[in-house]
Symmetry: C2
Subunit: 343 residues, 2 copies
DNA sequence: CGCTGGCACTCAGGGCAGACGAGTGCCAGC
DNA sequence: GCTGGCACTCGTCTGCCCTGAGTGCCAGCG
């Protein structure tokens, strides 16, 4: 654990915040002024030099001011007060924007991402609810014309998954109805993720040996459920990052956008975020090579008790951490609330 | 109608293709060489000068070579041969990639967009099928626990829309069943877009005066159907555009990405594409100010007879039109086929 | 009449040198 | 422990020149 005296703490905060504001290295004179330290620049210099030895700061070349290292940002972030700079009115407007009742489930998440991107000025990423984590509510086989039916699974959150099924001759609507009820009755409440082959075999096994088409239904169930494990990812405000000086060179921007357009990768990143609290990943702390110039601020959101997705921000390591953390927290809360009320 | 002699036609083609290849202005010597014109550069110069007077070419400054104007690209594109440079094997691989049977309906469209972006090296945009244009197949009110039901609309393509409904006491599953059948029976085959308030009033009117909760179902139907008019937009490969010299300056890139991240706007652009053929919009031909540096290559795709969406490419006006048009056409065909077989 | 070589002119881009200034490290002295 | 002073470093900006690609124009030729 690192112990810094008061002056150094102030300096770290000042250097970080000034650098975040201006994107320029911060010199000793400027730091002294901004930190309201009434000592001379020379004194500041020696303090800065010692902090550089600790690894909190660097300077890009001999005659330049200091900039924070990733580790410097980390220490800065860890000593931020927990209080939120975001006031009541902001919370209120988030709620209004997410609470509009005519948003479909996936849509609220997209709206939350757009909102968060707008509030922070960075890119925002959100994973829409995964059916996997939810409880199975019902299966319905709906007759559609002759010899075809629509198989619909509903989760208790209201999420739906459907697929047309071919039927052989001689399947009466009542058969479908009957089967639907049987399956629904026996599977209701099971976590969707637990609907394995074995589980379905128990329920459908005997019947499916009689009716070939049940095989199709089962195959579809397993396949689609497996697929619905891949949550849908929403990205918003990626354009904001293009304005940041660290991504002005096309190759850096390209590498960043390779991530932002790669849903499976983003999904892995998002799903690795722990359930409680707002998590910050700074530069090198990110697993992904292409995110080494970025920081992530992420948190889980829930529908009722159940965790149902992750939302957060991707920005440069030179990020306004305080307001970003506050924005992420509040939007996630608003989103959780919207999910609960829609379920 | 513009008539160009053979030399000028060759020159237009050469200047366009060389400029597309190198992103540099094309000089008279280079054009003569590349166009295999066995006359001296001086002769070429006078031809180029006359084409500049016609408005087909410009030069960025006095001592630079020629670059095509938007109108130059237009004339070039209009005189392209209709034959496709894309061979059978490519078509085959498109079919394979889109035909994988375990793709959900929205997912095929996303996959097509990614494929198209990869093939062309530009950004690709696609509108997923709109329920509006499809025929209503059935409504199902599925009991979920006590006092709640799931209302599901299915279109004949297999697209689904669902929403939970609160029920008052005393609504029996059979009531729901009965109502579902009645509505399904009377509305089947109607285009979803035609499900207006009046139409629903005819069907539900009498009954809904008896049961308050039917009001809710009706309100939801109208609201959700209206919303499903807004097709879901998929964008892929936007990162490729960052590498193009015309979007290297951050402000241009930002303006472009403002469009690429604005779904309603993209939807308007996509829905304005006529139903038949591959359409090209070059630079100034685009309505949107922010697309003035871009060209679009767009085409509709269908499920069976029914048009069901639009797919295409956004790139710089300095675009490889020939191969792009071919790629768009083939991917759209592959997509149409995938839609038909999944419906 | 169309094509050609020659010629003067233009202009973007690269390379170079010098001035500037922000900032540093170090040190002697209070 | 803090301070002012000092020498030094080095990136950035500016002005300058040069180069070379490319142009337009023109007189002359087949």
């Amino acid at each position: 654990m690192l112990r810094l005296d008061a002056r150094r703490r102030i300096l770290l905060r000042t250097v970080v915040e000034e650098h975040v504001r201006t994107a320029e290295p911060v010199g000793s004179r400027h730091a002294a002024l901004r930190g309201r330290l009434s000592v001379s620049p020379a004194t500041i210099r020696s303090a800065l030099a010692s902090m550089e030895e600790l690894g909190l700061l660097t300077h890009p070349h001999t005659s330049a001011g200091r900039i924070p290292t990733d580790w410097g940002y980390r220490v800065y972030v860890d000593m931020l007060p927990k209080a939120d700079p975001l006031g009541g009115p902001a919370t209120e407007s988030i709620r209004r924007r997410l609470g509009a009742p005519d948003e479909e489930p996936g849509g609220v998440v997209g709206e939350a991402a757009r909102l968060l991107a707008g509030m922070t000025g960075y890119a925002s990423v959100a994973a829409a609810p995964r059916m996997q984590a939810q409880a199975f509510a019902s299966l319905h086989l709906v007759p559609m014309g002759e010899r075809r039916a629509l198989a619909v699974i509903a989760a208790d959150s209201g999420a739906l998954l459907g697929h047309p099924v071919e039927l052989p001759d001689g399947v009466a609507p009542d058969d479908l109805e009957h089967l639907s009820r049987a399956i629904t009755y026996r599977l209701r409440g099971t976590r969707v993720a637990d609907l394995t082959y074995q589980r379905l075999e128990q329920v459908l096994g005997e019947a499916s040996r009689q009716h070939r088409w049940l095989e199709e239904v089962r195959a579809w169930l397993l396949r689609d459920l497996a697929r619905s494990a891949r949550s849908q990812i929403r990205v918003a405000g990626a354009r904001h990052l293009l304005a940041e000086p660290e991504f002005r060179t096309p190759d850096r921007a390209t590498r960043l956008f390779e991530i932002l357009e790669n849903e499976p990768l983003l999904e892995r990143v998002l799903s690795s975020v722990p359930e409680q609290g707002v998590w910050i990943f700074i530069g090198q702390e990110n697993q992904l090579e292409q995110l080494r110039l970025c920081s992530l601020v992420m948190t889980a959101y829930r529908a009722g008790e159940q965790r149902c997705g992750t939302i957060g921000v991707i920005g440069p390591t030179r990020m306004r951490y305080r307001s970003t953390v506050a924005a992420v927290r509040h939007v996630a809360e608003g989103l959780s609330e919207a999910m609960r009320s829609s379920a």
